[in-house]
Structures are given as structure tokens and as C-alpha cells.
């Protein structure tokens, strides 16, 4: 063993889990720097949810009547969840790292196998906080109010972010599998359509055909949106919250595991 190898081996007095935590922090910081240094990307990725708020409020809002609630109050919890689903940036960034050789660099380093993915998802989670705050600001300007008190409001936002975090693992996996940034961009939209439009995001599920209701009522986006809505506006929370929590935990476990497996053998 040469001195350098010995030094490298001795340089890691940290137990494995602490070392993994440090690796994740290092990768997260790198990704946050990248986000900060591409302000245009951040700006453009914020336009989409804001357009959704404005379009649905003013174009469709007049035609959609949800009993007992103003449409903006109905709409915004759905938009919150939707913003975190426009997660193609996670897939694109993963694929770009792969295509650009950064993943090979990371994989050749003595670092935790989960750190590149976790660092990606955490950085993107922090990015979503900004986007959600922006959507909340725009929504508030055009009449949205949390009608159920501060604590449930905080819980609602927390749930939105947790949901977004869970989906990012799916997007990270997609990015690793498609391997090409442009394809990742397109693939990132695939989950959006069924999950967002066949859901309770924009309209109540009751008016959909029966066969679709079964899916639309129970799919992860709907149960999460319904929970967020109940937290924001008042109403029974428990049933949907359990389901939403289950989906979130399931996504993190299943797609986290699959993504790390894909990273290992990429």
C-alpha cells in the first residue's frame, strides 16, 4: 500500500452513514450552485405553473362550477401539487450528468452510491419550494386564501413538497434510464397527462365516467390534492391523508431503490 492509498483510506474516519450524509450534502450543494447559476432555467420553469393558475382561473374557471367553494380556492391546492410534477428538470439534469460524463466521475469515486441521486432530489426539492412560493404569491393576488388556519396551511405545503420529493425519485430514475437529456425532457411529460388531467386537480371527479372515476379518485395525485385541499380549506383529512402518505412512502422506497440500482449498473 502506498502512502497515498493509505492516506485515502485513513482519510475517512467517518462511519459509513455519516459519510453518506456528507456525500449527499456535497452533491446537493453542487446542484444548488448549478440552479443558482442558471437563473433563466429557474425562471422559465416557474412560468408554466403560473400560466396554469392564470389559464384555469380565467379561461376555464368561468365554466367550471364546484359546489360550495370558489374556483380559485378549489384550483390552487391542485396547482401546488402539479408544480412539483413538472419535474422533467430532475430527469433532464440526471440524463445530462450521465451524457456529460459526470456520472462516470461520481461512480469512480469512493462515495455513497445513493448520494448523486439524493443530492439531485434534495436540490430539486429546494427549487420546488421557490416555485410553490411563487405560485402561492400569484394565487393570493388573484383571490386564493387558506381558510383553515396557519397550522393546516403549513401541513398542506409540507405535504405538497413531500409529494414532489417522492416523484423526483421517479424522474431521476427516468433520467438514468433514457440517458439523453432531450428524451428525458419529453419523457418527463409522460406521467403528467394521466396523473394531472385524470385527477381532481382541475375538476371534481364525480363528473367523469364511472370507469375513469375509479382511477381518478384513488391515484396518488388526486388523494394528495384532496388532502391538501382539505387542509387548506377545511374538511375531513384523515382518509386521503393516509393514502397520500402511503403513496409518498411507496414512491420513495420503490423508485429510490430502483434508481440506486440503475445508478449502480449504469
Amino acid at each position: 500500500m502506498t502512502t497515498a492509498a493509505a492516506a485515502a483510506a485513513a482519510a475517512s474516519p467517518l462511519p459509513r452513514r455519516a459519510a453518506a450524509g456528507r456525500d449527499i450534502a456535497v452533491v446537493t450543494r453542487r446542484n444548488l450552485r448549478r440552479i443558482r447559476r442558471t437563473p433563466r432555467l429557474l425562471a422559465v420553469s416557474s412560468i408554466q405553473p403560473i400560466l396554469f393558475v392564470l389559464l384555469f382561473r380565467y379561461v376555464f374557471g368561468g365554466s367550471i362550477h364546484v359546489p360550495g367553494v370558489s374556483y380559485i380556492d378549489y384550483l390552487l391546492p391542485g396547482i401546488f401539487v402539479t408544480t412539483t410534477l413538472f419535474g422533467a428538470t430532475t430527469a433532464v439534469a440526471m440524463a445530462a450528468d450521465l451524457a456529460g460524463g459526470m456520472i462516470d466521475r461520481f461512480r469512480s469515486l469512493p462515495m455513497a452510491r445513493s448520494a448523486v441521486l439524493a443530492g439531485r432530489c434534495i436540490a430539486d426539492l429546494i427549487r420546488s419550494v421557490l416555485v410553490v412560493a411563487l405560485v402561492l404569491a400569484v394565487g393570493t393576488l388573484i383571490g386564493f386564501r387558506f381558510g383553515n388556519g396557519a397550522l393546516p396551511a403549513i401541513a398542506a405545503i409540507g405535504l405538497v413538497l413531500a409529494f414532489g420529493f417522492a416523484f423526483m425519485w421517479l424522474y431521476a430514475l427516468v433520467g438514468l434510464l433514457v440517458k439523453d437529456p432531450e428524451t428525458a425532457q419529453l419523457a418527463g411529460f409522460v406521467p403528467i397527462f394521466p396523473f394531472i388531467f385524470a385527477s381532481s386537480v382541475f375538476v371534481p371527479v364525480q363528473n367523469m365516467p364511472g370507469w375513469l372515476q375509479a382511477f381518478a379518485r384513488n391515484q396518488p395525485v388526486s388523494v394528495t390534492v384532496d388532502t391538501v385541499r382539505a387542509l387548506a380549506l377545511g374538511g375531513p383529512v384523515a382518509h386521503d391523508a393516509w393514502q397520500a402518505g402511503g403513496w409518498i412512502a411507496g414512491f420513495v422506497v420503490v423508485f429510490g431503490w430502483l434508481a440506486v440500482a440503475a445508478y449502480r449498473r449504469t
Binding site: A4, A7, A8, L14, V26, D104, R105, F106, L109, P110
Partner: protein, 334 residues
């Protein structure tokens, strides 16, 4: 690592991508403090072998140890003793040069202070100190390559792996990289490098493994490989239309020689040195062929490559374009 044992020892390595057999029963051995070059054209399997030896890819069959560590079983420990510089610079363009190095240092598990110190040293050593605070995307190609190389040296790995370190570099930067590699070897680093350039292998390597179509077709020191041609060679340039006529005239002394039709060049062993040259010239004269150029020289690795594989080591322009078209590094058997 046992300094007496080989740093790299690969036995019977096989790897296939779908129906493409990228590596077929490859054996390679390299000692410490030396440079082993994997020489071969694009698609010979060099990068695949490097990816296996650096734990990025698992072999389908065979075993390999690097620094005494098994590339599959001991992959995690092995990553502590290797520094890899891939074919395309693995540098984050949105980080500064310093941030890039400090990040890699920390991910090599160096304490933060030490990572900073090493980064500063390497920036200085690679002439990047003035640009340390600039985003790497503003760097020239040569600077990016140097930063990439610095990143793989941050933890002072005893084994440095360079996958085509000078491909696409201008001549001056190429010489810089060569000087750097030679300096590292002097200070005891073992280097495994892949190259398509015979000149590079000749200049840097103590041992060369010539690869072609997924196999190691020859291995030895550059001199040993050249000695296979039996000493000096006569090289002549012949007008294109008369190439076949010239070959006919030279037989039987042409035995063991090679022809490069594109360059109108005939190379043949010259066991008797100048006398062989004279004989060849007489024969060509007799056939009424005026040579454009003729001379005796030491054989180059190019001659070795032609003799071993029946084709040149330098890829043609067509495959260069194909490669630029799919700029992805992991295009399977390379």
C-alpha cells in the same frame, strides 16, 4: 498494495453488449510505477476494459485485480486507490475550477480543509490558479482537460487511469499532458492509459498491450514489439498506379512487409540494412518504377500494428465523423 506484485492483473476478461463481443478473453498485467498503454483503434475494446478495471462495468467472465483488489468484490475499496480521467472531460461547467476540485476532493472523503489545500496545489501545478474562480464553461479545451486530470489526482491515487487523454487536443496541449504524465510516473504513480496514437504509446508506455476487435493481439515493451519485425525496415513511397507492380517486383524480399495503399507506402524488414535498401531499389529500377521516397528506419509501432492486425491503428476520417455524431461516451464497445 504490494509493490512487488502487479498493480493490474486481468485474466480471461470477457464482456459483450448484446451481440457485440467487446472483450474476448483478455489478459493484461502491469507493474507498479509504470505506464501500461492499451493501444488500438476505435472499437478495439480499450474503453470497455478500462471501465471494467475502474469498477464502472462488470465483466461477464474472468477476474481482474487492481492494486490487489478485485474489481467486482472489492469495488468500494478499489475506488479509493484509482483516479479516472475519462474520454470526455467530466468537469461541471457550472462550477468554478476550484469548486470542481474541492467537490471531487470531498467526495474522495478528504476532510474539507485538506480538499481545499489539495485543490489549491493542483490548480497551481496545472497552471489554472489564475482561472480558479472562473466557471469551467469559460475554460479552453486544454484547460478543461487539465482540470479534469487534476480532479482525478486530488486524492493522490497510486493508480491513474487515463482513457484517451489526448484525443482531440492540439499538439501543444498534448505535449503538456505527456509531460504531466511523465512527472507523475517519476513520483511513483502507476498509469494505465488508452490511446489510438502510436506515438503516444511509444513515448509514455513501458508496456503496450495492442488491442484489436476485443482481443489483446500482442503485449510487450515498445522495443519488444518493434523487435518482432526483426530490426530496421525499409520504407518506400511508390506512385499509386504502380503499387501492385512494385509489390510484384519486390517479392520475395517483401515477405513480412506491409502495404499502406492509401499512403502508397510499402514497408518491409531490412535485415541487412542499407544492402536491403539497395536490393529493393535495384528491383524497382529493373521494373521501371521510380520511387518517390525510400529510406531505412527503425520500425514504428505503426509497423507493428499493421503487421499484427493487418490494418492501421489510426482510424479513418469516416469513423471520426461517426463518433462526433454520437458524442455519447458509453456507446458500448469502444
Amino acid at each position: 498494495m504490494n509493490s512487488a506484485g502487479p498493480v493490474i492483473e486481468a485474466r480471461g476478461i470477457c464482456k459483450a453488449f448484446g451481440h457485440t463481443r467487446a472483450l474476448i478473453d483478455v489478459d493484461v498485467v502491469a507493474g507498479a510505477g509504470r505506464v501500461l498503454a492499451l493501444l488500438g483503434p476505435n472499437g478495439a475494446g480499450k474503453t470497455t476494459l478500462v471501465r471494467i478495471l475502474t469498477t464502472l462495468l462488470r465483466p461477464d467472465a474472468g477476474t481482474a485485480t487492481v492494486a490487489g483488489l478485485d474489481v467486482v468484490r472489492d469495488a468500494a475499496q478499489l475506488r479509493r486507490v484509482i483516479g479516472l480521467t475519462g474520454q470526455f472531460a467530466a468537469v461541471d461547467p457550472l462550477l468554478t475550477g476550484r469548486e470542481n476540485l474541492e467537490m471531487v476532493g470531498q467526495l474522495c472523503q478528504l476532510p474539507r480543509r485538506q480538499a481545499q489545500r489539495r485543490a489549491a496545489q493542483l490548480l497551481e501545478r496545472f497552471g489554472l490558479a489564475a482561472a480558479a474562480g472562473r466557471l469551467a464553461r469559460t475554460y479552453s479545451g486544454g484547460m478543461t482537460r487539465r482540470l479534469d486530470l487534476a480532479a482525478s489526482l486530488i486524492a493522490e491515487p497510486p493508480l491513474l487511469v487515463l482513457d484517451e487523454p489526448t484525443t482531440g487536443l492540439d499538439p501543444r496541449t498534448r505535449t503538456d499532458v505527456w509531460d504531466t504524465v511523465e512527472g507523475l510516473v517519476e513520483s511513483g504513480t502507476t498509469v494505465l492509459l488508452t490511446t489510438q496514437y502510436l506515438e503516444e504509446a511509444d513515448r509514455l508506455a513501458h508496456r503496450v498491450a495492442v488491442m484489436d476487435h476485443g482481443r489483446v493481439v500482442a503485449e510487450g515493451t515498445p522495443d519488444e514489439l518493434k523487435a518482432r519485425l526483426g530490426g530496421d525496415v525499409v520504407e518506400m513511397l511508390v506512385p499509386g498506379p504502380q503499387l501492385d507492380q512494385a509489390l510484384g517486383a519486390l517479392a520475395p524480399p517483401r515477405d513480412g512487409g506491409t502495404v499502406d495503399r492509401e499512403r502508397r507506402r510499402i514497408t518491409m524488414p531490412a535485415p541487412a540494412g542499407a544492402a536491403t535498401l539497395r536490393a529493393a531499389l535495384d528491383r524497382l529500377d529493373g521494373a521501371g518504377i521510380a520511387v518517390d521516397d525510400i529510406g531505412v528506419r527503425r520500425p514504428s509501432l505503426d509497423d507493428v500494428f499493421l503487421a499484427l492486425t493487418g490494418h492501421g491503428a489510426v482510424e479513418d476520417a469516416g469513423s471520426d465523423i461517426a463518433r462526433a455524431g454520437n458524442g455519447r461516451r458509453r456507446s458500448g464497445p469502444t
